[in-house]
Symmetry: C3
Subunit: 246 residues, 3 copies
């Protein structure tokens, strides 16, 4: 069984982190909270979301695996305002999730968890560089890059972390020296390029986090980690680099 | 002759109630005010609007019947702000209406009243159930229903008034027990289904009314009545039910 | 060399005055400031912009002629907010302009000035009528005219300045008697008609000017002059009339 209530803004925060590149997802519900791990259809971006029971106003759950149409759920939450309490209740026999707020009850049919694509095993990653930065800076650089190109390069040079993009004729660059970063730890100069298709949606969520941990390498997958739900939730994205033939 | 002035927000309130499903309408202007009665091209929804002379800041009229392109009139009022005084003057010889506000005068040609479709005679309706409810509740249920279906069912069960919709897989329901209603008077359980095509536009207007009188039956036309123009105007909609083959 | 900084809102004000009907423009940079003179591809509207060095927070320039893709520059400035300081620096060897704000640096390639269309010599104009009016009035009349027609007529009758438009069936008119004008000087009644394609975009800029000098004649080009950049810039538009066969 699963019965919980959560503030609308926290539910939306978690949901939006997934919708960045997923239409549907499988969730593990257990006594401690909710987790999901999913990869986008093109195998470029992976998300690992943990929402502890402390993120909820009330939470009663034994154990269940459910799969949800995220677009439909997000649509149904569209009329909820900040502070509204969203009540969730699983109808295991009917394979449905009841979502109620402000007196209106939606009964949504669930998807078959076995029909959701499994996340592939990811070999352990150990990027040599770690940057901690205000998420708003990442968002600004991504928006600027979009005016010029369809990809963005993140890298370090000495004690500077930079985000840059180059189009056929124009360039854009945001340089953040160590004093503008929360932390910069690196054993070598790194540089990897990522598709803005993914970074655009992801950076909208990242923008709200005051501390984003970015782990980078040379033409290597990037990790981005940050807290949601007032510290009661964790998001980790892994994004594959775009490797151009030289 | 007809010469009047009215606050922009009241004129828009009356106009929007008609534009919900009409592009043009015929108006009876007389010494007491303005009335119009019209039916949509598909014969599904009828509106009866009465705007008493007290709704106007000034009102001088003997008697006239005019027909107006509502879309054009609404467009011309688009730059008016709350509190602006709209001045109206009929040029009977030129078949034109002068609409002035903020120093700008629009001279709009009128339509030929005989070219406007006549409203059919409606047999007298006596729905067995009467609900009085805050219009905002109706609007919320309609918006929720639209996420799931293209029609909405209104009904009563015991002392509860409900609005619900069902799609192929999902459902949504708003239940209002008697204590959440202003009034509920019913001699039997009732239930009728209506197209959201009509209810969507109508409920935008209903939403602003703190008291909407809904009269309902079993697969029977619904009446919705409410006041506009600070109590100086009356709107009554009659909406035909959608009757599904069973 | 050219190196300058300017408040975002002033840079946008100047840029928008050009973008009203131009995609690219040639700029004369000199020790006193920046000037540009350009005509739209259809030869209907001309703009003459002067931005003195006093409009800038800092300004160092000897002499240069550069050509800029205005749409791209405007796009790049899209994330700047009121009060942001825009830093500009010309890289003459690389034929590039560096635009920086909030830590982000864009490097934009310049166009070849010789590829930009030259403005034709304009014979000296001496319209017989001069009106000084609040720019917001002009904007209001243009917006009202657009609901009815694709052109607008400006003229005087006695001591009244009017803006009017007529469609097939409807008319709209804004009359401004001398007491509602800042100045009206005329030796004869004048009347000229202009395409709203041009007046729409131009009037958005005009709207912000509390004093616009309009010079008019009979089926004669119109001049519109106003200050920008807190008085440190001048815009002059010349717009050709639309002359209908009678």
């Amino acid at each position: 069984m699963f019965k919980a209530s959560i503030k609308a803004e926290i539910m939306n925060e978690a949901l939006n982190a997934l919708i960045a590149f997923l239409d549907e997802a499988k969730f593990d519900l257990n006594t401690d909270g909710i987790t999901t791990k999913a990869i986008d259809p093109s195998n470029v971006a992976m998300v690992d979301l943990k929402l502890s029971k402390a993120a909820f106003e009330s939470f009663t759950c034994d154990s269940a695996v459910i799969a949800i149409d995220l677009i439909k759920l997000s649509d149904v939450l569209g009329m909820a305002r900040e502070g509204d309490l969203i009540e969730l209740e699983l109808d295991e026999i009917g394979h449905r999730l009841r979502v109620s707020y402000n007196g209106i009850t939606y009964t949504l049919s669930l998807l078959d968890p076995s029909a959701i694509r499994k996340e592939p095993k990811i070999p352990p990653l150990s990027p040599p560089c770690k940057v901690i930065v205000d998420g708003a800076q990442v968002r600004r650089a991504v928006k600027a890059a979009e005016k010029i190109s369809d990809c963005i390069t993140l890298g370090t040079k000495g004690e500077t972390f930079y985000l840059e993009a180059a189009g056929d004729l124009d360039q854009v660059k945001l340089e953040l020296t160590k004093d503008k970063l929360i932390e910069l730890t690196t054993t070598q100069e790194v540089k990897s390029t990522f598709s803005l298709d993914y970074l655009d949606d992801i950076s909208k969520e990242v923008a709200k986090a005051s501390e984003v941990i970015i782990e980078l390498g040379k033409d290597y997958p990037m990790k981005m980690k940050f807290k949601i739900a007032n510290g009661n939730g964790d998001i980790e994205y892994i994004i594959a680099p775009r490797i151009e033939a030289e």
